[in-house]
């Protein structure tokens, strides 16, 4: 920004600035909830809605790549203009707020799905880590190279704490499945068909069947690229341009 505030603002000036902050920061928070949430739900939503869709390959690749977008855009905005390294945490807090409100009141209270089936994934650990790396490096490029992969690599471990119990195998009618699958079969949805879950159709069981690791590293690689792209998208939206001519 070309203008700076007075070096020693008087009381009224300080009050006006604080008042504007109290108005504009929540305003930004609610707009980011809306924009980020609709982006997430319509690109990776099904994997985030359902417990039995949270597989060890596609969910792990898709979710960090889709969510690092708004983290990068807000990094660009907060850092370039306010020197605040909080973009990722701000974005993820907004997303999770929007998701939790609907999962409880919409999916659980209205559509009567158990909350275990519709718990959203968390991205907070990765968001705090990428913000910390951004603060330490103060560089978009280094954050893309170091921070974005850390964001993606932390996704599965940080969700495993609550997810592990649902991946315990159970046997039902001579079929072995996970607890997550069993809950899913009990609660039929229009998104239930097995073929719609695009998981592990290939014959390869990669790296000694350790699909999670390779998926996480692939997500890390993609996240680096998407981070750079969305940094510039965030920068483009932070436009100070006025258009005088008639459009």
């Amino acid at each position: 920004m070309s203008n700076t505030l007075p070096s020693e603002p008087n009381a009224t000036t300080a009050h006006i600035i604080k008042a504007l902050e109290w108005i504009l920061i929540p305003t930004l928070f609610f707009v980011i909830i809306g924009s980020f949430h609709i982006h997430m739900m319509l690109t990776a939503g099904d994997w985030d809605f359902w417990l039995d869709w949270k597989d060890r390959e596609w969910w792990i690749v898709l979710s960090p790549v889709v969510t690092i977008t708004f983290c990068a855009a807000l990094h660009s905005f907060f850092w370039k203009n306010f020197r605040l390294p909080i973009g990722a945490t701000f974005a993820i807090l907004a997303l999770l707020t929007g998701e939790w409100v609907v999962r409880i009141t919409g999916f659980h209270a209205w559509s009567h799905y158990p909350i275990n089936l519709v718990t959203p994934a968390t991205f907070l650990a990765g968001a705090v880590a990428i913000d910390a790396i951004f603060l330490l490096t103060r560089s978009m490029l280094l954050t893309a190279i170091l921070g974005a992969p850390v964001y993606a690599l932390l996704f599965f471990p940080s969700n495993w704490a609550w997810l592990a119990a649902f991946h315990v195998p159970v046997e039902l009618h001579d079929q072995v499945m996970t607890v997550a699958d069993l809950i899913g079969f009990e609660y039929v949805r229009t998104g239930t068909p097995e073929y719609i879950r695009m998981i592990e159709r290939g014959t390869l069981r990669t790296f000694g069947q350790h699909s999670v690791a390779i998926s996480s590293f692939f997500a890390a690689f993609l996240s680096s690229l998407v981070y750079v792209l969305w940094w510039f998208i965030g920068k483009s939206f932070s436009s100070l341009k006025y258009i005088k001519e008639r459009i």
Binding site: M1, N3, T4, L5, P6, P9, N10, T12, T13, I16, I17, A19, L20, I23, L24, P26, T27, L28, F29, F30, V31, I32, I33, G34, S35, H37, I38, H39, M41, L42, T43, G45, D46, W47, F49, A73, F77, N81, G98, V101, V102, T105, G106, W110, S111, Y113, T190, G191, P193, I196, I233, F237, S238, S239, L240, K241, Y242, I243, K244, I247
Partner: protein, 258 residues
């Protein structure tokens, strides 16, 4: 320049519209809660079958009522902002301009509140409904609240922010239209026309299995336009900083003279 006009005013002067802002937020919150209560009460009872006579009574009546009310509200609010405009903004003092920027920010806050309910709450709630019920009409109990209640409300609020800025803020007359502001309002506005594509697609293909289907990606791209708020915030901060700097300088000069 008359320096008395530059004397800082108490904060209550700048936040003159705060009570109206709180009222608007609470009224809107009441509307959304009433809509959710109606869904909880009558969606599973009378909202499952579009050919049921009760569907006409309970859901189509609500739809017709809300559309009529939204048109009336839009005409009233937009007309008020237009009719009460000032033809020239040359006389606006720095204090008045600061006050208007505070009011403009409150307008944006109301827009943000409506945008949240539209593109976050009711949109994902629509997914929750259609995982239970396969649609046989465009006017499902979830669609009646999302496409025809929450979307029009944020469009009304968004256009109000544009009208306020264009008729009250001098910079919109001297510098022209804010690109970021237009993106912020026009992008989410275009989500409503995109509903036409959505309904056509849901009639042509069977799309119920997959919420992340490409048919829905138009909503995603238009949702990104919410990021236009980043530019609008910077424009507000830039102009407010300029005004505060001028106030500060003038006050310092006045004190030195005296």
């Amino acid at each position: 320049m008359d320096t008395s006009k530059l004397k800082p005013q108490p904060l209550s002067y700048y936040l003159k519209g705060f009570k109206q802002f709180i009222c608007a937020v609470l009224i809107l919150f009441g509307v959304y809660l009433a809509a959710i209560w109606y869904q909880f009460s009558f969606a599973h009872l009378y909202g499952l079958e579009a050919h049921d006579p009760n569907f006409e009574t309970y859901w189509m009546s609500w739809l017709y009522t809300e559309i009529v009310l939204e048109i009336i509200i839009a005409i009233c609010l937009w007309s008020y902002l237009w009719v009460t405009r000032e033809l020239t903004l040359d006389h606006v003092t720095p204090n008045q301009e600061l006050q208007r920027y505070c009011t403009f920010s409150l307008f944006l806050a109301v827009y943000a509140w409506t945008l949240y309910w539209g593109v976050s709450y009711f949109t994902e709630q629509d997914g929750a409904w259609h995982q239970v019920v396969t649609r046989d009409t465009s006017f499902t109990p979830s669609h009646i609240m999302i496409f025809y209640l929450s979307f029009p409300l944020y469009i009304i609020a968004g256009v109000c922010t544009l009208l306020y800025a264009h008729t009250r803020l001098p910079i919109y007359q001297t510098e022209g239209v804010s690109l970021a502001h237009v993106i912020l309002v026009a992008g989410p506005f275009m989500i409503l026309p995109n509903v036409g594509l959505n309904e056509w697609g849901h009639a042509f293909w069977f799309m119920e299995e997959f919420f992340s289907a490409p048919l829905h990606w138009g909503f995603v791209i238009l949702g990104w336009c919410g990021l236009g708020l980043l530019g609008v915030i910077l424009q507000i901060m830039e102009r407010v900083s300029e005004i505060l700097n001028s106030l500060d300088t003038q006050n310092t000069l006045t004190q030195a003279d005296s």
